[in-house]
């Protein structure tokens, strides 16, 4: 009897423990599950290839895309971005003074958790902070000069592997905020990011194939044919939210910064390959 009781108590304790750990899923466990899910769903796609978004799972459109990349539509914006990066502010300083002289090492630092200000810092956020700190007006967030600068820094930083860190509990709170955003239903159409880009990834929505949620952040900013211009990740987030008939948040809002933090973390280990070209 005693033995049975001990066994029962022990199993209750074990059960209790496993429940506790599964409620507070650790980011590294989420990451392993997320990547495993997509590898099972698309067994023909090597993990590293998810950097190519929908083209990693759709051979016919990949061919068209590869042709487009031979004369990439973002090329002019890259030239603009390079020029802007080299310009001096009125006080003689430049972006390199804020973000670092080695432009190839910049893109991979973002997004990161800033402990002092308890916030997530994005590349675009630091570019504008640099301007304001040096007495210049901030740029608009979603396109134009900001997107061109972001594209240039992304281009120079190609090949580095995403390595987003979640250093402490407060940082994890930001990660959790982004994760909740990703899985929460929203808008009149009641759709979560995950509905389309996890559960239905690879399916057609009308004639368009839904991209896998892994690798979404590697190739931004993107030149989108639909826009006819370059746009940042947060510009795309706004468009997605409007498509499900939800109110979009502002670019660089806490909501989108948290979402970027979560999504970039879910792409850890993939190579950066921005800027990209999309339909």
């Amino acid at each position: 009897m005693k033995k049975i009781l001990t066994v029962v108590t022990a199993s209750v304790v074990v059960l209790g423990l496993s429940v506790t750990t599964s409620v507070q899923a650790k980011p590294e466990e989420d990451l392993a599950k997320f990547q495993e899910y997509f590898q099972k769903k698309f067994p023909k796609t090597p993990l590293a290839d998810f950097q190519n978004g929908v083209y990693s799972i759709d051979a016919p459109s990949r061919e068209q895309w590869e042709e487009m990349e031979e004369f990439p539509p973002y090329e002019l914006a890259l030239d603009d971005g390079k020029m802007l990066w080299g310009e001096k502010f009125a006080n003689g300083k430049s972006y390199a003074d804020c973000l670092g002289a080695d432009v190839k090492a910049i893109r991979v630092k973002y997004p990161y958790y800033d402990e002092k200000n308890d916030t997530v810092v994005t590349l675009e956020g630091d570019l504008n902070k640099c301007r304001v700190d040096n007495g210049e007006k901030p740029l608009k967030w979603k396109k134009g000069k900001m997107a061109a600068l972001s594209a240039y820094v992304a281009y120079e930083g190609r090949g580095n592997k995403i390595d987003v860190k979640i250093p402490n509990e407060k940082a994890q709170a930001w990660y959790d905020k982004g994760k909740n955003f990703f899985y929460a239903k929203r808008g009149q159409l009641n759709l979560a990011c995950a509905d389309c880009h996890v559960y239905s990834a690879g399916q057609n929505i009308r004639a368009d194939k839904l991209s896998p949620g892994i690798g979404h952040t590697t190739h931004f900013p993107v030149y989108r044919s639909k826009w006819g211009s370059l746009g940042t990740l947060h510009r795309r987030y706004g468009g997605c939210n409007k498509q499900v008939r939800a109110k979009d948040f502002k670019a660089q809002s806490d909501e989108y910064k948290a979402l970027e933090y979560f999504q970039a973390y879910m792409s850890n280990g993939l190579e950066l390959n921005g800027p990209g070209a999309r339909k």
Binding site: Q188, L189, Y199, S200, N204, I205, R206, L210
Partner: protein, 125 residues
């Protein structure tokens, strides 16, 4: 004066004639609309991107470039009762709280009348 009178009369009769013609045209188009059956109205709503947009996810006979997210809408009459279809379109979360299907009535994507028309159409597939 007489001339003025004549012009005035002609103008008035022309206007009246135009008015009558316009009215007839209005009645005619209203009658055309009335002639659309409930199921036809339902199909128009089902195919309209800004309304039912069923083709975004469901294959439907006669619809182009249908999505593949949800089951094809075929042999519906044999498989579902009308009431069950209506309930699913109006509030899919009753059967599956996590359903990807928009809650068409609960979220006001379609009105009750519009849903009746869509149900009539889909049930006939």
């Amino acid at each position: 004066m007489r001339n003025y009178m004549k012009v005035a009369i002609t103008t008035v009769s022309t206007l009246t004639l135009a008015g009558v013609l316009g009215l007839t045209a209005n009645i005619a188009s209203a009658e055309e609309k009335k002639e659309m059956t409930l199921a036809e109205k339902g199909q128009a709503l089902a195919f309209d991107r800004k309304k039912g947009n069923c083709l975004a996810c469901h294959m439907i006979p006669g619809g182009d470039m249908a999505g593949t997210i949800a089951p094809p809408l075929i042999a519906m009459k044999a498989r579902f009762k009308k009431e069950a279809l209506r309930a699913q379109i109006a509030e899919p979360r009753t059967k599956n709280p996590n359903s990807m299907m928009p809650p068409f009535e609960a979220h006001g994507v379609l009105s009750g009348e519009e849903i009746d028309a869509v149900v009539e159409y889909v049930h006939g597939l």
